[in-house]
């Protein structure tokens, strides 16, 4: 209850903040006074506190759809550690997010599902720091619960009569799947090239398709609605997830702190729990 009301207050003040810098300064003062009451800051938060002890305001994070669950959890953690801050997310396909960023959308942090989509942003010079890989995601086959079709390998997906959906080649999961298929010289004709990984998974969840090639994290997030089948070829197509501070960031200090949290051991734990792999060192 208390968190909810606190959140509402912050939301109303957020609009005011945009109105003028003076108001923002006032808010920073009030945030400062309340931060004295909190003592349960995480390590990551502490590390960022050292550089910028009085974090406040809103951090806007554009993140790939597959990061939704873990980033939402991290956002809450961040807000708790830095009272007076708010993390707002925009989750979506990495490509459309990249297009929004280069189109001038107000964002502080961009976390993409592939270096290729991150490159769209960096090529335009919209990133303030060089992007760094914070997790990796591996493909997995999602089958119906109990795996009634006895799918054990990528090759099994090419069996005739099996309805398989892939992501469209224009989105990272589709590109990755294609890479894995090419590496193992398999020719797979799916019934559909879905526009993103979530819709591919939905088709299996609704039992319209027998299998889909999606990310491990998605299989994990779907719980028992689908069953995951690992396949060795997925090692050929592991997606690196880069994160970067954006050039037009309005709240650089808080944005930096958030990136630090993502890369901190706590952040990594949340992400690996969701099924992500730690970045290759």
């Amino acid at each position: 209850m208390t968190t909810r009301s606190a959140r509402r207050t912050r939301r109303t003040t957020r609009t005011l903040q945009v109105a003028g810098a003076g108001v923002a300064a006032l808010l920073a003062l009030s945030a400062c006074s309340s931060s004295d009451d909190t003592s349960d800051s995480s390590d990551a938060a502490k590390s960022s506190t050292s550089s910028s002890p009085k974090l406040s305001g809103t951090v806007t994070v554009f993140a790939a759809a597959s990061l939704k669950e873990s980033f939402t959890a991290l956002g809450e953690q961040f807000e708790k550690a830095h009272p007076g801050t708010e993390v707002t997310f925009s989750f979506g396909g990495s490509d459309s997010l990249a297009a929004s960023v280069t189109g001038g959308a107000p964002a502080d942090v961009f976390a993409a599902a592939s270096p290729k989509t991150m490159a769209i942003v960096t090529d335009k010079g919209d990133a303030a720091t060089a992007p760094s890989t914070f997790v990796r995601n591996q493909l997995e086959i999602a089958t119906l619960p109990g795996n009634p079709d006895k799918i054990a390998s990528l090759k099994d997906l090419t069996r005739s009569g099996l309805k398989v959906v892939l992501c469209d080649k224009t989105v990272p999961c589709g590109a990755a799947a294609q890479k894995a298929l090419d590496a193992s010289r398999l020719k797979l004709t799916p019934v559909s090239y879905e526009q993103d990984v979530k819709s591919a998974l939905t088709k299996v969840e609704l039992k319209e398709a027998d299998a889909a090639v999606v990310y491990k994290t998605d299989v994990k997030a779907a719980g028992d609605k689908v069953e995951g089948v690992e396949f060795p070829e997925s090692a050929q197509a592991v997606n690196d997830y880069p994160i970067a501070l954006l050039k037009d960031a309005h709240n650089t200090a808080a944005a930096k702190a958030f990136i630090a949290l993502v890369r901190s051991p706590e952040g990594q734990k949340v992400l690996t729990d969701a099924g992500f792999l730690k970045p290759a060192s």
């Binding site: 396909g93 490509d95 459309s96 297009a99 309805k163 959906v165 469209d168 224009t170 989105v171 799916p190 019934v191 559909s192 090239y193 879905e194 526009q195 819709s199 939905t202 088709k203 609704l206 039992k207 319209e208 398709a209």
Partner: protein, 293 residues
């Protein structure tokens, strides 16, 4: 939309002997005013016009004219266009076959809960198309309420097929037709049906030979609306029928996916779709809408 069907103006038409020549049919011009429009109307009207046209102009301005021929040379473009035209037309046909009788039922009969049925019919108008697509999956998917039976009895599955595209498009487009035809039916004089009945026509014959021709302009207008809606349909289609080139990838799907990494291709595709729909709509308007009334 179109002129409501009016009984022939006999009552107020003086005999030609008196006025020297039979009067022409009710004109459209009397409602049109001469002189300038008042500013409070003119200004928002112009802003509205600009608002609607500006994005289209931008599309033209930013079109990759240099590489356009190269973009359009791709067979995928024509494949998607062909599929779009076919499925939109098929969806319109489905809407006509099912929607016109439905509109008649709503306009001409009394039954308990008619108001509710009418509201439900228009539901797909407000439903986000993606939700419509999910609902269709739940109903007609392989594992859906009815789809399960279709699969086990007839071995028919709709998702991921062109038929599925038609179903998804008809689902979102039919309400436009029903609303349009129902409105025309309400405006049409039901006594023509009675006149036909006194001449020996059954209710169905009266509908077929009298009512149907009378409401033809409304049906045409409704069909065009439905067709246009079906042509632009994206959410329900990609959700219910998926996306596979040549089978279920219609133009809007192709545009959306091209937008992911090749905005030039997307703009080129959009231009083609725009051009084709403008051509078809303009053609139909000239032929049907004006001739019928």
């Amino acid at each position: 939309m179109s002129d409501p069907v009016t009984p022939p103006d006999i009552s107020d038409a003086p005999a030609d002997t008196l006025t020297g020549g039979p009067r022409r049919g009710r004109g459209r011009t009397p409602g049109r005013m001469r002189g300038g429009a008042p500013l409070p109307l003119l200004l928002p009207a112009l802003v509205g016009l600009v608002f609607l046209l500006l994005p289209l102009v931008a599309l033209l301005v930013r079109a990759p004219w240099g590489s356009l021929s190269e973009q359009l040379a791709k067979p995928e473009v024509w494949q998607a266009l062909r599929l779009s035209l076919f499925s939109a037309t098929a969806a319109t046909a489905v809407s006509l076959v099912l929607g016109v009788p439905l509109a008649w039922l709503l306009a001409r009969t009394e039954f308990p809960g008619r108001g509710l049925v009418r509201a439900l019919v228009t539901l797909p108008l407000v439903l986000p198309p993606v939700v419509g697509g999910v609902a269709l999956l739940l109903a007609l998917g392989r594992n859906g309420v009815v789809g399960r039976l279709l699969d086990s009895w007839f071995g028919i599955t709709l998702p991921f097929t062109t038929a599925g595209v038609v179903v998804a498009e008809a689902f979102v487009a039919m309400p436009f037709l029903v609303i349009s035809v129902e409105g025309t039916l309400r405006a049409a004089d039901p006594r023509y049906e009675e006149a036909a009945m006194t001449l020996g026509a059954s209710r169905f014959t009266a509908f077929r030979r009298v009512t149907l021709p009378l409401i033809a302009p409304g049906i045409a207008a409704g069909s065009v609306l439905a067709w246009a809606r079906a042509l632009g349909e994206f959410g329900a289609t990609i959700t219910f029928a998926g996306n596979f080139p040549g089978r279920t990838q219609t133009m809007p799907l192709a545009v959306y996916l091209a937008l992911q990494n090749d905005s030039d291709a997307a703009i080129a595709l959009s231009l083609v779709l725009l051009l084709v729909s403008v051509a078809v709509l303009a053609g139909l308007r000239d032929r049907w809408m004006t001739a019928a009334s």
